[in-house]
């Protein structure tokens, strides 16, 4: 009799302990997040003996012969959250002709947003190249460890530069770098020297246009719900301190970003990629 009771007590004890542990496993707080390392994508930059005159368009033919790379994009982490609409992927291609290097970016966008207005923003895209050997592990903070060179093409600026059409309205909101006090005050508008802003940054809030603009050219067309943008720059860097140096048969990093103006992307709000390795052949 006593033996049965003892056995029953033991069984009850074990069962309740197991139940408690099970409950704790199910309802415990603070499950840690695991971060996995992502493999880097490589973008080959083949040699193609072609030159593109952007004033005539972005030329379809050399790009068709180059295999595209799909680069995944993610949200730019920001201090203030906003409704997150990510542009999921961007197609990129590149080639060089020994003198100039060309990049092609294409992504889906249902609307062509070239006009600025109040609460209306321009579509845009950018390529970032870290300068120097020290590179931070993530692209989020734009060149935290060393400097970064950023080429930003803006649809509104493209219209202004190539089609010579400025904003139609007198008052509009645009986002200029740097995001310091000057952003809060009216600034005198300069005539763009290119559809592409050639910028340097060493961290967030330090994005600054280079003194000499126009070295990087760019042009974009919107067709069939897609943007097609081409960047062009001479391979040789003018100022190695602030210009990206492209060396043959050497890997270097790059990252891509896309702004969807219709969804409220402007300034830092954008979709960004992780590092992509460039291989200039």
């Amino acid at each position: 009799m006593k033996k049965t009771l003892v056995i029953l007590i033991i069984i009850a004890l074990l069962l309740s302990f197991t139940a408690l542990v099970y409950y704790a496993f199910r309802h415990a707080r603070g499950i840690p997040v695991t971060a996995e390392k992502i493999e880097r994508l490589t973008l080959e930059v083949p040699f193609i003996d072609r030159e593109i005159d952007l004033s005539e368009g972005i030329s379809k033919e050399p790009w068709d012969s180059i295999a595209p790379k799909e680069v995944k994009l993610m949200y730019q982490v920001m201090v203030l959250p906003w409704p997150k609409v990510v542009v999921p992927t961007v197609t990129v291609k590149a080639f060089h002709n020994g003198k100039d290097i060309y990049f092609y970016m294409s992504w889906k966008d249902d609307t062509e947003d070239r006009d600025l207005d109040v609460n209306k923003f321009s579509d845009a895209c950018a390529i970032m190249f870290p300068l120097g050997k020290e590179v931070q592990p993530s692209t989020i903070m734009m060149g935290f460890i060393g400097r970064a060179n950023i080429w930003q093409w803006k649809a509104s600026q493209d219209k202004e530069y190539w089609l010579k059409e400025g904003p139609k309205v007198k008052a509009y909101a645009d986002f200029h770098y740097p995001f310091e006090e000057t952003e809060l005050f009216p600034v005198s508008k300069t005539v763009p020297k290119s559809a592409v802003n050639d910028l340097v940054a060493i961290r967030v809030g330090t994005v600054t246009p280079k003194e000499v603009q126009g070295q990087v050219e760019g042009r974009g067309f919107w067709r069939d719900d897609h943007w097609h943008v081409v960047f062009k720059r001479a391979i040789e860097a003018i100022d190695p301190e602030v210009d990206t140096i492209f060396e043959f048969r050497k890997k270097r990093l790059s990252a891509f970003a896309v702004w969807n103006g219709a969804k409220g992307d402007r300034g830092g709000r954008k979709s960004i990629s992780d590092w992509v390795e460039l291989e200039v052949e």
């Binding site: 006593k2 033991i10 542990v21 415990a28 707080r29 840690p32 931070q136 592990p137 692209t139 903070m141």
Partner: protein, 630 residues
Amino acid sequence: MIEHRLHRLKIQITQIVVFVSCLLSLVSLGVAEDRFFEIRAKKFSYTPNIIKVNKGDVVKIRLISEDVYHGLFLDGYGINTLAYPGQEGAVKFVADKTGRFSFRCSHTCGEFHPYMIGYLYVSPNRLFPLGASGILVFAALSLALSFRKSGKAAKFKLFGLVPLDWRFELTRFKVVRNLFKNRWFPFIPIVINLFVFTIILLAGILGGWGAGNYNFGVMIVWILWWVLLMMFMVPVVGRLWCMVCPFPLIGEWMQRGKLIGVGRQKSWGLNKKWPNKWKNLWPLVILFWISTWFSGFFTVRPLATFMLLGTIIVLAIVISIVYEKRTFCITMCPVSGFMGLYSNFSLCAVRRKDPEVCQKHTLKTCFLGNEKGYGCPWMELPYEMNRNTYCGLCLECFKTCPYDNMGFFLRPFGQDLFAERRRTDDLYRRRGLDEAFKGLTMMGIFLSFFIAFQGPFGHLKDMARATTLGGYLAYLAESFLVDFIFIPGLLLLFAFLSKRMSRTKEVSLKTVFVNLSYALVPVGLAIWAGFSLGIILPNGSYLLHILSDPFALGWNLFGTANFPWTPVFTGIMPYLQVLTVMIGLLFALDLGYKLSLQTYKTVEESRRGWIPILVYLVIIHLFFLKLFCG
């Protein structure tokens, strides 16, 4: 002739010691330069994990995180920086303090966060050669003294000062005696403790699988309790913890039918007897070793702490209703083994006062119990008890002895190591290889813990926290080899040499091995105390947080919930650790020689037999020194 040769040997050894000490003290003179390090932090290690500079160098560190928020706090310099992916941290300082300094993560980055450590060496490291010289000088002095003292006189005084059989009765003070005789003591402290452990268990359940450094359960058990145990309770009072331990309370209550008053003397349960041949430390050696397999979980994960404590509580109840009295404490509780062994070194003990009174008292109520209290729950024979291993300080014998013949005594450290063998020692196969292996495995476990948890090696941490099954199994295999083969093997080798040098045939190798292993009792306590410093000084400040917010519900009970992580005295920590190691060594040398005298028949045999053991002690202490500061 022999005396003469030994004298020459003594002089030679002293000369070698002086020479080696001088050599070790020679320091390199470097030219100060700018040093730049890029340290990448990733759960839970730094790459590089060890950096070396010279005194005066201007050190610039760039900290890059590859996964989550990490920090870098440099002991001794008090410098701190933070980094997260995309945001680097940077520090710049002049390396004007020399020695080895740990840099540790200063931002909770996951469960192993408190173990994320790297080493900065600023040469010349003076502490290591200084400590090494100290070890060699102490060993040489000990050798010289052991050859100087005449006959066995040395045996009777600790450091030649306090007679080893000296004792001072604390229960001679009425307040203490009345307290010990009161049935509410130690019941009240047990209940308070039970309250604390209830919170610990709750916090364990609620804390789940998250990081433990902000969890009440993990912090109280593994930071506060463990440190108190190793640095105060065991060396000073022996099984003080057992006196107030709440785990056996429920089982004991079921056995007795009463919580405070005196109920059944015979257990309500099945009251079975544990087999005599397993009434020694062997089950505890194995169980504690097995429980250390999970140290990479329960010292950092609240739920794992809950599971460990819960298992102990359930087991305590089950064993109590199946077996008699405190069978659980004697044979199963994982921490009981080392507390028992190390209590023999402690400053306090419960003993009978006058042997004659006990002899005349034929009805041994301290063993059988009476209306005032229970017969010794630990199944000791209080009337002839001469060691602390199996005395749980429950104080029942104070209540049951009608002649007030039990006393609580202050005595010199290590008294019990020289106690006479008793009948029960043979009957239960106690005081043999079981205690030797308890001491040896404790050294091995210290080694694994120190290297995995306070060392800079990320891959070992990954093994201990079982990121891969293969790595985890390798960790367990390493622990087995070190604890049961390598460390005992080394002592066996030196015990063999000791027996050879003593040239005796009458003493067995096993006796030499077992007897001399007791010299490792103070060593074990010292290294664990050193280890405990490495836990409490860097991490103690988390306690302030968890006291105010035990369940991580955002409470601020005592206004300390937002107290930031603040390492204290971590700059002088290696000095304190070396000091504890040195104190351990001093005791080991003094008690070790006395143990040698007790083992061998003649003084000459003992002296010759002592030399290899002395060498052994020097070797292991140099090794410990290397661990703590080299």
